[in-house]
Structure formats: C-alpha cells, structure tokens
Symmetry: C2
C-alpha cells in the first residue's frame, strides 16, 4: 500500500543518526543520537505512570519552551528513574553536553533513557559517548540507533515509508524498542519518529497522540507500564510540501493514515519481540457500540494471562476469552457473543459450539493469530496486539537485574 | 488467638457433609453435599463477571425467595457456564433431585459448579452422585467435601474455630477451593462457610460481604475472575446464642472478627495453592489516606507479573514495586514512598537506597514474604495476598483443557 524504505529514521530528508558504545552496557551499543539539519517541529506523548523518570520531566520542560527541536540523545542500560534531584541534574548535563557538542541551542535538545531503575547515570561514560556520537552522525545510522536503544529486545526495530501528498512526497521513519512488558518497567517502550513533512506543531501533536493511541497504546506484553515510556516525533519541513495546518482535508488524512500504519507496524514488532513471545496475537473486537468499548474489551482479553497461556499451548480455549470479556467492565449480552480463532468460528450466538478441533489447532499452530470477538451491539471495532505467555517470559523476568 | 478446630464445615452444630465420586472426573471425588439439620439463614456473594454460570443465576433466584437454606450441592469437573437454557434447566434439575433425596423443600437448596466452561453437565452421573451423597452425610465429611470441590487445587482447604460470645460459644467452619488464578476462569474460587450462630439474615449478609472483601477479594493468583465464583454462608442458630441482630455491639464485633480471621486464613491457603506458586506474598500498603486507596495500591502491586516474577527469582527489584504503584491510579508523591522486603528497608524517602543484598536475599529465600509499602500520606492500610509467578504456572495453563 505504501512504498516502504529501508533506512528508518534517516529516510526522511535532513536527518542524521548515530549509535555508539560508551560502556553503560558491556558489549552493546548503548547511546543513540538523532539530529536534524534544521530545527524540527516536535510532538511527544509520555508515560502515564505517576512515577516519572528524570528525562521525561526534562523533556516536558523543554517542549513547554519550544517545539523547535534539533536533536535527541538516548541511552540504554540505565533509566535514570527514581534518582531524585541528582538524576534531574544528570539529565540536564547530558542534554547540555549534547547541545555544546553539536553547536546548537540547549533549548533544541531532548533526552531519553531506558534500563535499570534507581541507579545514577554513569556520567563519565555518557559524556564520552556523546562526543563519540556527534562525528559518527550519518544517513546510514538508523540501524545503529535502533540497536543502541535496545535493552532486552532481541532485534532492532525500524521502518520508513513514502507518502504522496498533493503532487509532492513526504517521508516518515521510525525506530522503537520495547520488550519486557511492551511498556515494560525496566525495559521501557521508546519510539522516535522522523519526517520531512511541513506540518504545524499542534497538528503534529494531534496526529501523534491519536496514532500512538492506536498503536503503542494497543499493545501489551504483560500490562505493566513504565516510568520512562515516550514517543517523540520530529518533522523538519524539508520535503517542501504545502504545510499541513488543519486536520481537515486530504493531505492531513493521507499523512495521518501513513503515520498510523507505520506506528502500528513498529508496535507489532515490539509485540513479536515481547519477552519469551513465540506468537503475535491480534485481538479484534467488532460489533461494539463505540471504539472505546471495543478497545476496553480487546485490552482485557489481550492482558489475560489465561488467554495468553492458552494461546501458547495452542489450545482453542474460548471460555477464557469470554471470561476476560466478562470482567472487562463493558456491558454486553453473553448469548450474543461470537468468537473466531483465525477463520474458524468457535463460539456462535446462544453458546452454540460446533467446530473441528483439528481446524482450530491448525490456526493456533501459526505464529500470527487473530482472535475475533463479535459483540453484535453496534458497528465500532478495535484491535489490540499481544503475544503468548511462555515459560521463557518467567525465566527472563525472574532474574532481570542479575 | 482463636480456639481452632479440625473438622471444617462440620465443626458447627447440626451440619453434615459428604463428598463422593460420581464420575465427572476420572478418579477423584467430584460431588459435595452440605446439609443443615434445620433451615439456616443464608448469605452469599457472587462473581462480578458479566458472564455468569447457570448455578449462580439459579442461586440468586433461590436467595431472592428466602434466606432459609438447608442444603448446598456442588460438583467439580464441569462449570455449567455458557450452557444457555439447557444449562439452567440442568441446574434446576440437580437442585430438585437434591431436595427430593433429602426430603426437604426445593426452595431451601443451592447449587454450585466448577470446572470446564461450555460443556453440558453429565446429568446421569450427577443424579446418581446426589443419591450416593445423601446416605454418606456425616459429621466427619468436611474433608471429603473439601476434596470433592477441588479442580487443579493440590490440597483440600478447610478450617474452623470457636468464638466465645456473651457466655456461650458459637463455631464457624469453612471449606474453599481456588487455584488457577485464585478467581480462576476454569478453576473458580468457591468457599462455603457454616456456623451454628443465631444471626439475622441482613446482618449475616453484611458480615459476609465485608469479610469476603477483606479476604477472597484481596487475593490474586493472576487477576482473572471467574464465571462461577461464589462464597455462601449458612448460619443455623443451633448454638442458642442471643441472636445477633445489629452490627453495633460487642457480639457482632467478636463474631465478625472471627469470621474475617477464618476467611483470610482460607484465602491465604488458596494463594499458597495458586497454580505454580512457590511463595506466599503479602503486599501491605500503609500510610494511605483511606482503605480504598491502600487496597487499590496493594492490588496493583500484587497483580504485576513483573513483581511476581522478581519474587520468584528472589530478586529485591523494588523498582518494579514502585512502577506498579505508579500505574495503580492512586495519587502519591514518589519521593515520600518507602519500601521494605520483610524487615529489610529497601527504599527510603527521597529515593535513598541503602541495603545489603545479602539481607534482602535472606528475606526473599523464605516461603512467606511481606512487601511493605509506606505512602506516608495518612494512617489507613490494607493487605493483599498473592503468589510468585513461575514457569509451572505457564505449564499448567497452557494445556488446561487437555
């Protein structure tokens, strides 16, 4: 549908990135830098956790001053969360060093961290890392940056695509990290999105809010949310499209649709890489009275440990799906509910169950499984993505700090 | 504190029970009968799941007619949930057969089921079971009944105690089953409580509601709630105490305190027997502005897969506790929070962390662990009980139906 490109956040014009190893982690790149040749319009969404890491506090202050952002510096291996006054000072120091090294205004830099909570940043290493990253900036650096922000992720996540827009073209790219519980507590969900589109700041913020709600906020590895989660988008205008200044009209719609598509793609990568995940599960609730109800129902099913273990065991245990729907808090008539696993109808109206275990098993043997739940109450729908719950998940999380 | 007795729900005067094998399950007792020599005042709390099993619907109708109940018939192995009209008819048929066999009024019988969802009751077997259970009734049958209601539980759960009351004595006994996710979807949380106390129906209902809220509603194996959960209490008055007719006064307070103590004891047994559990974890939130806030905070921490896997790995990962507090939805100041594991202070105010990993490890090596979280906002507190999350949990739930 879209023309997809290889080079992630450096696909849009004017973006340079780097990923270097500064020694926070033993043998893995652990510091990423994203730079735009010109100040870019910025938008961001942050964790809703009441416990907020230092970089999140700093970025909220930065974005309160201006939406013109030119660089983002990100470290993995240490979350700089629950570090009090000293953690805040550390975040500001990293930010200022980055501005100095790049020769840009301090007001145009954002900072981000992911990793272990409650330990102070190893400042010496990070400041050396910043100085290494600046000369390493390049248009081929997206994969390095995607790699440098990883924690327990097993593969780097990036994607980019081109959107035709009123006779011209804009490009959108993104990198993300997740794992843990998507929105893991140690392992934080981070995503950075770049574009060369010309777009007004409030329109970009509106688009990012909605696209994040329909992608990263609709995935779940284990339902926990982190102190450090953030999605930041920069749009530098170098595509020279007629600026998007309203949510009305075709150009916004086209740009937004592409953005949502890209973010959903990244979000699904995050789920696939969920700790211990062996299957990607889409929970699709249809026939809902409104989107909010559909999301609530889908989330409840996707977060159920019992559903997730059943999928892991390739067991068509529709009773667990129905029970999770039952405690989701939405109103529905259980006798009207229909459930399918893949293309196989499992539960029909009035509790009629008549399916071949063979057919169900064939669906559940796949790596990519859709559970469709029809409420038969309206015409709204929503999807939520999750993974199965495996013994590996337990093994990874029982000893994360070690 | 209380004089504890051995024989569970037959400890109070006038109660007889039986547990028999009627063939729903291959080789395990699967049908229990509880009988009071005289009609008893009944109280009950039921699942809040929107999907409600047939026996729950039937019992709500029964209790709407009268609070004089003389028998409860319970089967394991089949939940009679999501079975529509036919399931309802089956539940009524079991209830009527029990009344007939005992020679008592149909209006004085309750029915309960636990097991697999979406399959019809094997009526032939159950009706034979009822006829076997009636002559088997006896004052030594509590353990048999506790055994007969088990599904994936690994041990039967019963307890009883004697309460001095204004110069006389009343006795309270209980059996319970849980496992799965305490309030498991297939494995349902059931508890049956008997007493020879004389108490007014509305006072008994009030007491049961509150005691259940502070015991079975404060445990979690995996956060799922079932279609079949119920706690039913019968009080037959044979102790000849001066009837408890008000929540004011010492006799209600003494009776209630003993009841809460007994139900918490049973609830903890359910957690200890949680699928794959190797540790009992009490999450105690203190210094809350009110009890509701304390419960909400404690529940969020107790339900976190990340906290539960960390405990399983004997890892003093206080960051996960704080993160779960952060998304609980309560208001608090993170810098004021203190966290202890057992007697070892881990996190102090203003994020001061200064503890010996050795001391923490020693606490976490125990089978019985208390995590205390001080909000330093007020004087209310609440406990929530959970277990660790192990690979065994995944193994059990990946293949429940098989």
């Amino acid at each position: 549908m879209y023309y997809e490109l290889d080079n992630g956040i450096t696909a849009p014009q004017g973006f340079l990135t780097a990923g270097v190893h500064c020694g926070i982690k033993k043998a893995k790149k652990d510091l990423a830098l994203i730079y735009s040749a010109v100040p870019a319009v910025a938008a961001a969404v942050f964790t809703t956790n009441r416990v907020v890491a230092a970089p999140v506090m700093v970025d909220k202050i930065q974005l309160g001053k201006t939406h013109g952002i030119q660089a983002i510096v990100i470290n993995s291996g240490n979350a700089n969360a629950c570090t009090g006054e000293r953690g805040l000072n550390d975040a500001w120091t990293v930010l200022r060093a980055t501005a100095r090294s790049l020769g840009i205004s301090e007001d145009s830099v954002l900072v981000s961290s992911t990793g272990v909570i409650g330990q102070y940043l190893p400042m010496g290493k990070i400041l050396v890392g910043v100085d290494q990253a600046v000369p390493a900036l390049g248009t081929e650096g997206s994969a390095d940056a995607a790699y440098a922000i990883m924690t327990t992720d097993t593969f780097p996540k990036q994607a980019a695509l081109r959107v035709p827009l009123e006779g011209t073209e804009v490009t959108i790219g993104a990198i993300a990290k997740g794992s843990g519980m998507i929105a893991p507590n140690m392992a934080t969900m981070l995503a950075f999105v770049t574009s060369d589109a010309a777009i007004a700041p409030e329109i970009l913020q509106h688009a990012l809010r909605q696209a994040a709600d329909r992608s990263f906020n609709r995935i779940s590895v284990d339902g926990d949310t982190s102190t450090n989660d953030m999605v930041v988008m920069l749009a530098n205008g170098l595509a020279n499209n007629r600026p998007i200044t309203s949510v009305q009209g075709a150009s916004y719609q086209q740009f937004y649709a592409a953005m949502e598509y890209l973010l959903v793609k990244l979000a699904k990568m995050v789920v696939v890489d969920g700790e211990g995940a062996t299957k990607l599960v889409e929970v699709r609730v249809v026939g809902a009275p409104n989107e909010e109800t559909a999301v609530r129902a889908a989330r409840s099913i996707a977060n159920s440990n019992l559903v997730k273990t059943a999928i892991h065991g390739e067991d068509a245990n529709w009773g667990r799906v129905l029970a999770a729907l039952g405690y989701s808090g939405i109103s529905f008539d259980a006798e009207q509910v229909e459930i399918s696993f893949g293309h196989v109808p499992i539960l029909r109206k009035k509790y009629v169950i008549d399916f071949s275990e063979e057919d169900a098993k064939e669906v559940l043997r796949q790596k990519d499984i859709t559970i469709t739940v029809a409420l038969n109450l309206g015409s709204a729908e929503a999807s939520f993505w999750t993974c199965d719950l495996s013994k590996e998940y337990v093994a990874i999380n029982a000893n994360y700090r070690s």
